[in-house]
């Protein structure tokens, strides 16, 4: 048996959230500019001065309205108070506006807990209705597309996305989320074509970042790498605009062996990071601890669940990691990645099989083609003694296998199922084969899982195997693999103990019964 925590790579693919939930980073602002234009606030000042001279419903309304139009609500607080104190003099809507002027606004936050599937159904129903009246609302088409993706309806999702693309064909956000959907639909090459065809890509840091990430995914050289390098070197735009580009560029540098250059790029990326950049930096920090991580406060954002998850995994805080992975899964309900991590931590480290099955089911509902996730699901089912269902699910994993779904994982899972149906020879053979093809620490992981599977299904305590793994356990560097191996051994041991105590209990119960029987026979003899 073995599950997998991730596919071994992370790229700077854009985030895709509902419009009302998007983290309003510089991506959603206009093109990067070094400074904003100056606005004459004369008319606003005049309106406020008029209100101060003569306070009445007309001057107060005018001051509040002008302040709203100029985006300077704080300047009209007195006028708003005046209107709220004289509610009979003005229209109801103006009173609501005045209340809004006095309370600070928060834009786009993530809800603490929500059923993503029910929510997606609600969004589909509402948007289909409203789009009849407002058919050119790009945001609603994007939300509709995302909701369909969460519901695991790829065709409908892409159709909605096509409408959004036709309405805003060169818009940065539309392009990026359309590309993200194509990647989700395993059409990264089409996403790449979409991005490189856009005339603004060679000037836009966000699209350039996506092009680099897609090139990495497609294992080809990025077309705009020179432009990206020049942009990062010469540009005077605010750091928030270059965060994802620097991160994508740094990842590419790291992959091509320029570790020093990568560290420099990551430092630039961390100045004003998006949560996506934060997650990337945290991920890369596992590979190179010299990569500087951004300030602690960045992790506090509700959007930063993925970054928190990687950080907790790195620090071996498994409960925190599972909590963050669940938040991440709620945030990216259409993706299989968070489900893989959540199910792995629940399954291989915390041994919470119910939680693992829940995470897998939710993930597979949205992304049924994710083989890694299905593999984790198979293992969780097998460990929950649902061997028949596990085999049914395992049969669904067919060639071609996705990148990152390693052969040793597949073989070990097959071995687990063989043990599950009682074929010890086949199980041992498959695990042996898996251990042969697994590299480095993964070999130990396979052996630990073999020990666990033998304990679980055959009630065999393979002491030699356990000894071999325990001796080398402390040398394991990857904290996740180490914890999973240890957990597999410990669980195996406790299962054996349980079996033993079960046997002891059975013997005791039999003795008790026989004693009672003896007693009964004795009393019967006496009475006769």
């Amino acid at each position: 048996m073995t599950a997998q925590a991730h596919d071994g790579s992370r790229r700077m693919l854009p985030r895709w959230r509902y419009g009302s939930r998007a983290e309003l980073t510089a991506e959603y602002a206009g093109p990067p500019v070094s400074q904003h234009r100056t606005i004459d606030h004369g008319p606003l000042n005049e309106a406020i001065a008029r209100f101060k001279r003569v306070a009445n419903a007309i001057t107060a309304s005018e001051a509040v309205e002008t302040a709203v139009v100029y985006g300077q609500l704080n300047l009209a607080e007195d006028a708003a108070h005046w209107l709220l104190n004289h509610p009979d003099t003005v229209a109801k809507d103006l009173l609501v506006l005045s209340q809004e002027a006095l309370s600070p606004k928060t834009f786009n936050t993530l809800p603490a807990s929500i059923d993503t599937v029910s929510e997606a159904r609600r969004i589909v129903a509402a948007n289909r209705r409203i789009l009849r009246t407002y058919p050119r609302n790009v945001g609603r088409w994007l939300d509709l597309s995302r909701a369909y993706a969460v519901l695991g309806l790829p065709d409908q999702s892409w159709k909605s996305m096509e409408v959004a693309l036709s309405l805003a064909p060169t818009h940065r956000v539309t392009q990026r989320v359309a590309g993200r959907l194509l990647v989700h639909l395993h059409k990264a090459d089409e996403a790449y074509q979409l991005v490189v065809r856009n005339a603004i890509t060679e000037y836009d840091p966000w699209l350039m970042a996506f092009e680099i990430a897609l090139s990495d995914l497609l294992k080809q050289s990025p077309r705009f790498i020179k432009q990206a390098r020049r942009f990062l070197r010469d540009s005077v735009v605010p750091p928030a605009h270059v965060s994802e580009l620097a991160s994508a560029f740094g990842t590419w540098q790291f992959r091509t062996g320029d570790v020093k250059g990568a560290r420099k790029s990551f430092r630039l990326a961390g100045i004003a990071p998006t949560e996506n950049t934060l997650a990337q930096l945290q991920w890369m920090n596992q590979k190179d601890s010299a990569i500087v991580l951004p300030k602690e406060q960045n992790y506090e954002s509700s959007f930063a669940a993925e970054a928190r998850c990687w950080r907790a995994l790195q620090a071996s805080k498994w409960e925190s990691a599972l909590r963050a992975a669940k938040e991440w899964q709620q945030d990216e309900g259409f993706s299989g990645r968070p489900a893989i991590v959540a199910s792995y931590v629940a399954l291989s480290i915390l041994r919470d099989y119910e939680e693992a099955i829940r995470a897998c089911k939710q993930g597979l509902n949205a992304d049924s083609g994710d083989q890694l996730l299905r593999n984790n699901y198979v293992v969780a089912l097998a460990k929950s003694s649902q061997i028949d269902t596990a085999i049914e699910e395992f049969v669904k994993i067919q060639e071609p296998y996705q990148a990152g779904y390693f052969p040793f994982v597949r073989m070990a899972t097959a071995g687990l199922l063989a043990f599950g149906i009682g074929d010890a020879d086949l199980g041992t053979k498959l695990y042996k084969k898996a251990a042969e093809v697994a590299e480095g620490e993964n070999r130990l992981l396979v052996l630990a899982h073999q020990f666990n599977a033998e304990c679980t299904f055959l009630n065999i305590n393979n002491g030699d195997l356990e000894k071999e793994v325990r001796i080398r356990l402390e040398d394991m560097k990857d904290p996740i693999a180490k914890a999973a191996a240890r957990s597999a051994l410990d669980e195996g041991q406790s299962l054996i103990a349980l079996h033993t105590s079960d046997v002891t209990k059975k013997i005791e119960a039999t003795l008790k019964l026989s004693h009672r029987f003896d007693h009964l026979v004795l009393s019967f003899d006496k009475s006769t």
């Binding site: 602002a29 904003h36 004369g42 008319p43 139009v69 809507d93």
Partner: protein
Amino acid sequence: MQLTAPSRRPEIEDINDKTRDLNYAPPEVLYRRAQVTLDDRFAADLYQLGSVAVYLFTSTGMNAHLCRDIPPMHHWNQWSGSYEDVLPYLAPQFESAISRVSDAVDSLVRDELIGAIRQLCNPDVNLRGDLGHKLAGQPRYGVRRFVSLFDRLATKAEHALKIKR
């Protein structure tokens, strides 16, 4: 057919022009979209007509509705991109504005009036005006249809009021 303004060159409206009341200026002017054609001017006039109608029912013009819930980065005083690029972010504000006006209007005239305001105040200049009119060969930015509609709605309301009395 598109008519070209006499100057024949793209013109960025000066939003700092002291004679201009930004509370009623169309959003494309706030976001500095070039006013090139005569159609652009007509479209701006239609918006202002619609904005007056919105004011009569909610005590604030359409601009206050468009600006009240918009994230600061999309507000015209911060936006650095093109008008076409900000339009997707104005769409939800426009929907909310129409919904608010709808709540403030009597059901007797609601459907027709809201339909007209939706046509008059659409932030997307290409969708402003009566598209059906255009298909019928009439000038798309013609005000005549709206004037007669408002007349009819006023008569309808007066009549209803008389019956009520």
